[in-house]
Structures are given as C-alpha cells and as structure tokens.
C-alpha cells in the first residue's frame, strides 16, 4: 500500500482577540493509505472536524504540511487550488440540513461540480446526476425537487452523491451519520462501503460513535484536545486501547446488550474536556487521567510505537516510553 494523503505536524490555531489562541489542532501527523478507511474519533472540541477541514484546505494551515500523492499542498487555498482539487478531494458534511442550498434543486446541487469542472454538456450532466441519484438510492425524478422535500437520510444521500459524482480519490466524511436514525445510519454506511469497493475510494471517516467507527474503519485514530493520542488498526484500538483516554472513551460507549451493559462499572471519566484556549504545557489529558504521573504535567508525550500485530499501533503517553 502507498500513502495517498499525509499530514505532517499539521497545526491550526484560531486567534480570538489579541491575546487568546485556540489550539484547535496541534502538531498532528498521520497518513491515510490508498483505498483505506481511517476513522477519526474524539469528543466534541477535540479538533477532529477542524483537522478534516484543514486537511482539505477549507481552513488555512497555521503550520505544518499536507502532502497529497507526495505533492505539498498550498498553505492557503486560492480559488484556483480549489478548482484543481475538486476532482480529487471531496467532503461530505455533518449536517444534512444546513449543507444543502435550500434554493437549488437536487439536480442543480448534485450537478454543480460537473458543470464547473467537466466539459460535459448539460444533457450529459443530467444523465450523470440521474445515475448517481440511483446509485445512492434515490430516484431520477427527485432531480427537480428541493432539499426540504426530503428526509434527513435522503438529504445525507444527496450530500454523498454531490461529493462522489466528481469521482474523487479522497473523501473526508465529517460525521456523515450522526444526524440520522439508527436504521438509516446503516443504509448510509453500507452505501459508503459499496461505493468504496466499486470506486476504490479512500476515506477519512470522522465520527463520535465508536462502535460505528470500528465497524467502518480499517484503522482508527483518536484525538484529544487538538492532539493525536492514539492510532492503530481499528480492532486493536477498540479492543486493546493503550492510551488511558482511549480506554475511558471506549468504556463509556454504550452497547445494546442489557447483560453486559449492567455489569459495566459506572462513571468512568472525571470532568470534561478543557478549553483549547491557551493550553498548558505537558500532556493535555493530565488533569483527567487516572494514571497521571509527575512527568505528564511538564512534558508533552510523543507518539511511540507499541509492538503489536501487523499494523503499526502508535500511542502518545508517557506510560509507554
């Protein structure tokens, strides 16, 4: 396998006023292999969406690089850059209600990318849109309708069709299923799986539903307060988590099984994710960590290799140094 897209020390800070800085993403390095699904989990405020958006150029990078097929992408995208990458990098957004223009018909929404980026005639575009609507489980007749006429699951499919009609190689899915009902989540997840198999897609799948991420992904990465704390094969991270944060996150994940749910120890993680404004030195999880040591409060841990299995398992924790 070869690397498709790689983040090297990717950092995104937001300035608030003159003195405050939000460390949304700090020094995150990871790579996504070709035809792989990498799951990215973390609590809200952990910077996972910002990471996804910075990766595809929707945010200007504060520092660090993104390499796509070995080519360093610009720090700040100009319109020309978006044009260039529209056919290879796409994004599926979290909220199927606010991410579709209510004044455009479904045909216009899904076909817009082709109108700008291909030489196809209007008629060919209509054909292609119709085909994609069928592929995502809608009807060609839906082309003339407006987004408000669809349910949440159907809108998410429109979002999927809009991203995939460009036949991209790399797609960032930012919580594509969290707004959907359980029965419909499975529809969208299976659809992504089928399209991945038929088109050879590479996906970064951002979500907070751990069971679903483990189900979907080949590898799984965990973020906490802007930093990457653990990354490895999805099953390794899910069943043998190394970082104390990952363990607690997975222990909090409710399972639809009364027997095992009731046996599980109760309240597991103290406190809440702190603010990412002007973070303290040392490990960011130190204040909530049950295994905190003195070194954690002064020195930031770096990602270290854990000897395990075939796929690299990296964890950023002083316990493993």
């Amino acid at each position: 396998m070869s690397v498709l897209i790689e983040a090297r020390s990717l950092t995104k800070h937001f300035r608030i006023g003159k003195t405050k800085t939000v460390h949304a993403v700090d020094d995150v390095s990871l790579c996504v292999e070709k035809k792989e699904i990498l799951g990215l989990v973390g609590e809200s405020g952990s910077g996972k969406s910002t990471f996804g958006k910075t990766l595809v150029g929707l945010h200007e990078k504060t520092s660090g690089d993104v390499l796509y097929k070995g080519e360093t992408l610009p720090r700040k995208y100009r319109p020309r850059d978006f044009q260039r990458f529209a056919t290879s990098i796409q994004m599926i957004f979290q909220d199927p209600y606010s991410s579709l223009n209510p004044r455009m018909t479904v045909g216009e929404i899904v076909g817009e990318g082709l109108r700008f980026h291909s030489q196809l005639t209007a008629e060919k575009i209509r054909e292609s849109v119709a085909q994609w609507l069928i592929k995502v489980g809608l009807l060609p007749d839906h082309m003339s309708r407006y987004p408000h006429e669809f349910s949440g699951g159907q809108r998410q499919r429109i979002g999927v069709a809009r991203a995939l009609i460009m036949e991209p190689e790399f797609v960032v899915c930012d919580e594509p299923i969290s707004a959907l009902d359980v029965s419909v989540q499975a529809q969208v997840v299976n659809l992504l799986g089928e399209l991945k198999a038929s088109l050879g897609l590479t996906l970064l799948f951002i979500a907070h539903d751990l069971s679903m991420v483990r189900y979907v992904s080949d590898r799984m990465a965990v973020m906490y307060l802007g930093t990457l704390v653990e990354i490895g094969a999805a099953d390794d991270v899910f069943f043998t988590p190394k970082h104390p944060y990952t363990s607690l996150l997975i222990a909090s994940n409710p399972e639809p099984d009364p027997n095992s749910e009731r046996k599980r120890a109760s309240t597991i993680i103290k406190g809440e994710i702190p603010s990412a404004v002007n973070v303290k030195p040392g490990c960011r999880f130190a204040d909530r960590c049950p295994k905190v040591m003195d070194i954690c409060k002064t020195k930031s841990p770096v990602l270290n290799q854990i000897p395990q299995g075939k796929i690299d398992h990296l964890v950023a924790c002083h316990l493993y140094e």
Partner: protein, 338 residues
C-alpha cells in the same frame, strides 16, 4: 407495584389546513411507579409527542381525539383558566433534549431553578435560591454557590444538562420524563449524566420515562422498554425480553442495523430499507408493513392486534397469530440467547 401513569387508547392529531394528521394512533401504556421505562423509536415515531401529551404541553394545533391519561398516584387538578396546565403539575417534570435552548439566557442558573420552587412550592426567593444551590450540589456541579450566580452561556453542555436535571427534580416529581437527555452530549459526559439520573431515581423512587433512540442507553438504564413506530407501540416488555427475545420485526431490524462490539466482525449491517410511513396518509394496516421483510398480505389492511408473549411482554404483530406460527418461528429464530 402501583401504576404511575395509565394511558388508554390515546389518539392525537395535529390539524393542518387540509386535514388532521394522526401522530399517535391508539397508545396503551401502564407505567409502574419506581421504574425506568425506555421509550425508543426513530424520529417521527411520536415519542416526544407522547412525552408532551403526558406533560400537557401540546403544540397549538395538536388535539387528543380519543382515549385517556390517568395518574393513579395523584389525581389531576382541573385546568385553571388562563394559566398553563404545566404550572399545576409539579409532580411531573421534564428534562429536555437540548439544554442550550431550554434555559433562559438572561437569567442566572440559580434563579431559574429557584423559580420552580417559588411557583409550585411557595418558597421565598431567598430560601428557593438556597435550595437551588443544594440541588446543584446534588447534581455534582462544583462550586455550586458561585455557579448558581452564573448564566447559561458560562456553562458547558454537560453542566447545563445537570442544571436542567436539578431543575427537574426540584419539586420532587413522581414522574420524570427525560426526552433524549444525552443526545447532545459526548459519550463520556453521557455516561456521567445517565449514572446521575439512575442514582436520583433510586433514591427518590420516581418513575422515569427515558425517551431515546439509542438502544445502548436503554440497555443500561431501563427496566422496561417500549418500542414505538409510526405513532404506535409495537413492542413492550422487560429490557431482557425486548433485547434477547425481540418479537417485532422492527425491533429485530433496529438491532441488526447496529454494529456489534464483538471480536469477530462480519461486515454485514442490515439497514431497514425505506423510510417510515407518511402520516399524512396513514397506513390502514400495520405501520411497518412497507418496510417489513416478513410482511404478509393480511398486514397491509388489518391493524395488528396486541399479542401477549409472556407476562408483561407484548408485541403488535400478526406473526404471533396462532395461524402464523410456522412463519414466526422462522423470523424470530436464531436470536441471541440471554
């Protein structure tokens, strides 16, 4: 155990310019005091509307067309003219889904909790505020005296939801309706909030209706589970009956649509095809007919009867009719053993 709430054949419609849309279609429930009842179903199934009927905070055009709601533990006072019915129901309270939009942004948290005590219990402002601080302590908000003077924007989502819980239990309700109390929260905070609701329920012995779409949350918390679909109750029973001996195809479908956290992963999530029926044109027969993989001809035009499977375990599905025995055995076989 005594009943906290009895609902008989409840029908509710919402008027729209053309006709009335049936939202709840013949709900029968008998909730026992001192238990947690999980109410599950997808969006549009009518779970929140059922919560609102019980609280009598219906949207303007909603009407109860048939049926009754009784609170055997406490008779209802008559409606007072010009005042909201909710003011006379200190024994039922609500934890809403979204704490951010449910609190008054211009009032500090302590005063918002104190208000309920002043209105329902006749506390003076000073004693109500002091009690509010105690309640914030009870829901484990640190520095409660300081925090009570702060405004909602100064609280995180998890803290706001705790404050909402403090407000909900202020008057010592006998029935607490928690409408998706943790949907807006992260799993780590969700675990904290759910454990807190369980603890408070055990201490006070109130009945809780936990409305959620998360089967995992229900598995942990609930004694009984009520599964709703398209404005009807399709299955009801103890949590183990409903999870391990699921007896409605919709419940089976929900379970198959969730990934299992087991080591050996066979990647076949079974989605439920299609979407819930359009209640503008309500189905004549079973609401689940169009999506049900086991539908029979009978199901299209005849509403299923309620079949009792064991004590306290019911399902509304024609597969339990004696004449469908062979087919039912096929459908419900292969279920995981308890």
């Amino acid at each position: 155990m005594s009943s906290a709430l009895v609902i008989k054949n409840l029908h509710l419609t919402i008027d729209n310019p053309k006709d009335a849309v049936p939202i709840l279609r013949g709900i029968n429930l008998d909730l026992r005091a001192g238990e947690i009842h999980g109410l599950v179903g997808e969006s549009g199934a009518g779970k929140s509307m059922l919560g609102r009927v019980i609280l009598e905070i219906l949207p303007p055009r909603a009407k109860i067309t048939e049926g009754s709601i009784d609170y055997p533990t406490r008779p209802l006072p008559g409606k007072t003219k010009g005042r909201s019915a909710a003011r006379h129901r200190p024994h039922i309270s609500l934890i809403p889904q979204d704490p951010m939009t449910s609190l008054n942004p211009t009032m500090n948290i302590g005063n918002q909790i104190a208000e309920t005590l002043q209105v329902h219990r006749g506390f003076s402002h000073a004693s109500a505020f002091a009690r509010a601080v105690e309640l914030l302590d009870l829901v484990k908000i640190p520095d409660s005296a300081q925090r009570a003077k702060q405004y909602p924007f100064e609280f995180s989502g998890g803290m706001l939801q705790r404050a909402m819980i403090a407000m909900a239990i202020a008057c010592g309700p006998s029935l607490l309706i928690a409408d998706e109390p943790t949907t807006a929260l992260d799993v780590t905070i969700q675990a904290q909030v759910l454990d807190m609701i369980t603890d408070l329920q055990r201490e006070s012995g109130m009945a809780v209706i936990l409305i959620t779409h998360d089967l995992g949350v229900v598995a942990r918390m609930a004694d009984d589970v009520i599964v709703m679909y398209a404005g009807e109750v399709v299955e009801k029973g103890s949590v183990k009956d409903v999870y391990y001996r699921s007896s409605h195809p919709y419940t089976l479908g929900l379970k198959a649509a969730m990934p299992k956290n087991i080591g050996d992963l066979n990647r076949n999530l079974q989605p439920i095809d299609g979407s819930p029926p359009d209640l503008f044109d309500p189905p004549k027969g079973c609401g689940y007919f169009a999506r049900c993989p086991h539908a029979m001809r009978l199901c299209e035009s005849n509403r299923p009867e309620k079949f009792m499977l064991s004590t306290g375990h019911y399902a509304n599905c024609w597969l339990h009719h004696p004449q469908a025995k062979a087919k039912a055995a096929l459908v419900f076989e292969g279920k995981p053993k308890p």
